[in-house]
């Protein structure tokens, strides 16, 4: 049988033909044994299939399957939020914890130093200058006291005078 005729029989079966075309196919089924047999086969196949689909069960537990879906939704929503945020904002967000931590740590160190008198606020303006270490010259300037002190010492004489003093580098050698 011609394939086109077969396809028309099928279209008739599926209710896709109307009017004159449907009447022609109905007449063909009535009068042609071969067309009738083919129509019967197509009809039978359709009947088997309808309502006889095998049921399958998802091979994963409810919790496990939902857990995967939930995580994926969260991941995509995070990615969506990120893609909608300007790059500079992301940079700040990414480093804000580190910057904050460093700032807090630095503040704590300064606070502790002030508390232990290692640094006094006035002392921050004082400076010690020792340009010639061998000669043993120290200059000391205090802005708070409006004073400059220059102290010249001979390290060799100092070392001899203090018998308990730490040996000089030359003596070690």
């Amino acid at each position: 049988m011609n394939v086109d005729v077969g396809i028309k029989l099928q279209a008739y079966l599926d209710g896709e033909l109307t009017g004159r075309e449907a009447q022609q196919v109905a007449a063909l089924i009535k009068n042609d044994a071969e067309a009738r047999a083919l129509f019967g086969e197509l009809q039978q196949t359709s009947t088997w299939l309808k309502g006889n689909e095998l049921e399958f069960r998802l091979p994963e537990s409810r919790e496990f399957f939902w857990g995967k879906i939930e995580r994926e939704i969260e991941r995509l929503e995070t990615a969506r939020v990120h893609s909608a945020t300007p790059a500079w904002m992301l940079f700040i967000r990414r480093h804000i914890a580190a910057l904050g931590g460093v700032t807090v740590a630095a503040a704590l160190v300064v606070f502790a130093a002030v508390q232990m008198n290692v640094i006094s606020p006035a002392g921050l303006l004082e400076e010690i200058d020792n340009p010639l270490e061998d000669v043993g010259t120290f200059s000391f300037r205090s802005e708070s006291q409006n004073m400059t002190l220059v102290w010249i010492s001979n390290p060799f004489v100092d070392a001899e005078e203090s018998s308990d003093a730490t040996p000089m580098p030359e003596e070690i050698q």
Binding site: A11, D14, T45, W48, N52, R57, L58, P59, F65
Partner: protein, 200 residues
């Protein structure tokens, strides 16, 4: 507030409306309720357990993302099934592109052996239990090319018209009619061959 709701006793409509407002627990209940059916559709098309599981998961994630677009024109399950069907079709198209077309597939497209097949006159389903009939139908479906299997699933199981199938499969109505015709003929022949084996 939301966690105090009795989700299992709620209708689908109430659940998807709650989910549209961002209630994840309501969406979880919908997943629990329909996950087997969504998976079954994916498996019937893909014929691979792992891929079907992944695709049904992807379908649920997509559903959550597009939930606000759902207006309730069809049932929630029908909407979900359409999503998973589209994902399966995308996957099958991709697979087809990736592998070279086999000669067998080309023959099926143009009719191949079905062109000369005699009409099946015996009733292969006679005295068959429903579960056994279902097993045989599934076995036969598994032997069809993806184009033939898909067109049968969309027409016979999903009740889609030729026009809608053509749209989803991205082909002409003529191609749908031709594929459906050969798919039905091949199904009939396969079912008859199982019967003949049984009689032997």
């Amino acid at each position: 507030m939301a966690s105090k709701r009795d989700y299992p006793s709620m209708e689908d409509v109430a659940l998807w409306k709650a989910a549209q407002r961002g209630d994840m627990r309501a969406f979880e209940e919908l997943v629990a309720r329909h996950r087997d059916k969504v998976y079954a559709r994916a498996f019937s098309m893909i014929r691979n357990e792992e891929d079907a599981t992944d695709l049904s998961q992807e379908a649920w994630v997509k559903a959550w993302q597009r939930l606000k677009q759902f207006q309730g024109d069809s049932s929630f399950l029908t909407w979900m099934t359409r999503i998973v069907i589209n994902l399966c079709l995308d996957k099958l198209r991709k697979q087809k592109r990736e592998r070279a077309e086999s000669i067998e597939n080309l023959e099926e497209e143009s009719g191949g052996v079905e062109r000369q097949m005699p009409t099946v006159t015996i009733n292969p389903t006679e005295r068959l239990e429903r579960s056994e009939l279902r097993q045989r139908i599934d076995k036969a479906l598994g032997l069809l090319s993806y184009e033939h299997r898909t067109v049968l699933i969309l027409h016979e199981f999903e009740d889609l018209e030729y026009k809608e199938i053509a749209k989803r499969m991205q082909c002409s109505i003529g191609t749908v009619m031709s594929r459906l015709f050969y798919a039905r003929r091949k199904m009939a022949a396969l079912m008859a061959s199982y019967k003949r084996e049984e009689l032997k």
